[in-house]
Amino acid sequence: MVFEELLRQRAAREQRRDRMVRTGRQIVVLGLFICLLGLLYSLYKVMGSAIDDVQSGWPVIGSILPGSDDLRMPPVLDIVGGIFEEPRGTDEPFWSIVGKEAAFTLREAAVGFAAGVVVGLGIAIVLTTSGRLERALVPHVIASQTIPLIAIAPIIVIWGRKSFDFLPFEWQDWMSVSIIATYLTFFPVTINGLRGLQSPRPENLELMDSYAARWGQTLWRLRLPASLPYLFSAFKIAATASVVGAIVGEISAGVKGGLGRRVLLEAQRYTTGPERLYIAVLGAAALGIFVFAAISSIEYALVGRKGRETVT
């Protein structure tokens, strides 16, 4: 008994260590990847500068490929420096401003993602009840994604301002952006969720029938757990899509306070600080990576079967 307890403790320790090693490795890989990107960027820039200065050497860049002067491609060190600089008219470093705006966008995206998961899974569950319903409605679900986001964003914002008076709280513009994110999010959840909910083998469904299980019991104890692997791959797509939806939504609906607005602003005053646009875009990318990693770690905790050996 004592021996078994020790074995169990060792296994738990190994699992914790595995997870730490995994996370550490991912951070190192990400860091190396960023360095590599910076290196390639600089290399291209150096090769491009050669023709700008000497009119010789690398004829491809500048004629066929875009040129690389400091306005078009601010030096990596300018970009890194810009992160810590306080833009004119503020007493706050730029990373802190972008960070707050990223948090604002994250809230829009997170609310939109959550709503998209609820709506998407709801539709998938309803469609699971009947094959006829599935055949009738899935084309409409697909068609919904062909409507350009930029076209519906302003409509949703106007609806939000004018028509949502019946709600118990005051409607704010960022909530409209969340709806736009929802619109992108629900789709992969519905499609993958449907596949996952239909994934149990016939004999497992027969088993539930033989136990006289109610529909809801089969859903909760068989269909949903069986669909988790499918759902998590949808969640990863949906989470990054919700960030894209939030940023595009902010830009096209003119909502202030988030990364979308920041990208628009820095594009407008690009000539006075091109590195700030790059930083804003990098911030958006970091936000996307962050939500992806967050979903991945929830998946790992919920359905990860690492450290368990399959007996063959």
């Binding site: 088993l207 033989s210 136990y211």
Partner: protein, 265 residues
């Protein structure tokens, strides 16, 4: 579940089928006559095997008893009730060829599944699942996951799950079909031990003549196109031991079943 209920059930047949037939896709171009004119009585505590070549409707017959599909004609009674009423009363339990354990649940929680569906309290479930694990001799594996067990062990868990709520009738659809010969013989002994300990009624589908004769008190021989009962071979070999497999009476009954299978063609 009072005692009077139990003694009343003892007088009823476990399964009673009269004029049972099943046609799939009735009236369409792909119509299939799976079963015709099935009359079958199975008494309480019997161990009946259904044997026949592929396509003879033995699995269909099992599913009619389970009320997983409806009869096209005829009646199926289980413990004196319609098959569907028996299903809703959880009178029976099924074991399939594939163990069909839920991979996200450990062994103990797999066994608790039917008890959960029936609304048992957690402590009672845990206790019953421990008893069942003892019955199938897997008590050390309660917290393992299905992927960590061999095929034979998984099938034992499936049997434990099926027996967990003490159903009166066990319906088994080629449960040992995917196992190797040695594991299969071992599982046959285990099943007979469980059967003699619990005196549950068993209906067992197989396509192995030796398995049918070794296990059952009655062998129902079926033939295909359309699926029907060709013969019923009484198979009274007394208590089974390793020696039974060398018993002349065992071989005589194997021959009888083989001839009945040939006659059906």
């Amino acid at each position: 579940m009072s005692d009077t209920q139990g003694s009343m059930d003892a007088h009823r047949l476990a399964v009673e089928i009269r004029g049972g037939s099943k046609i799939f896709n009735l009236g369409r171009h792909n119509e299939v006559k799976a079963l015709t004119d099935i009359d079958l009585d199975i008494g309480q505590g019997e161990f009946v095997t259904l044997i026949g070549p592929s396509g003879c409707g033995k699995s269909t017959l099992l599913r009619l008893i389970a009320a997983l599909i409806d009869t096209t004609e005829g009646t199926v009674l289980v413990n004196g009730k319609t098959a569907d009423a028996a299903r809703l009363d959880r009178d029976y339990s099924m074991v399939f060829q594939r163990a069909g354990l839920f991979e996200w649940r450990n062994v103990s929680r797999n066994i608790e599944l039917p008890l959960e569906l029936m609304g048992w309290k957690a402590a009672d479930r845990r206790q019953r699942s421990a008893e069942m694990l003892e019955l199938v001799k897997l008590d050390e594996f309660a917290r393992h996951h299905p992927a960590e067990l061999s095929g034979g062990m998984q099938q034992r868990v499936a049997i434990a799950r099926a027996m967990s709520f003490h159903p009166k009738l066990l319906l088994m659809d080629e449960p040992f079909g995917a196992l190797d010969e040695m594991t299969r013989e071992h599982m046959q002994h285990e099943l007979l031990r469980i059967w003699s300990e619990t005196r549950i009624t068993v209906v067992f589908v197989t396509h192995s003549i030796a398995e049918a004769v070794f296990l059952s008190t009655k062998v129902v021989v079926m033939s295909p196109r359309p699926g029907r009962i060709a013969a019923v071979v009484d198979n009274d070999l007394g208590e089974r031991t390793e020696a039974t497999r060398d018993d002349p009476a065992y071989f005589a009954n194997i021959t009888a079943v083989r001839e009945a299978l040939r006659g059906g063609h």
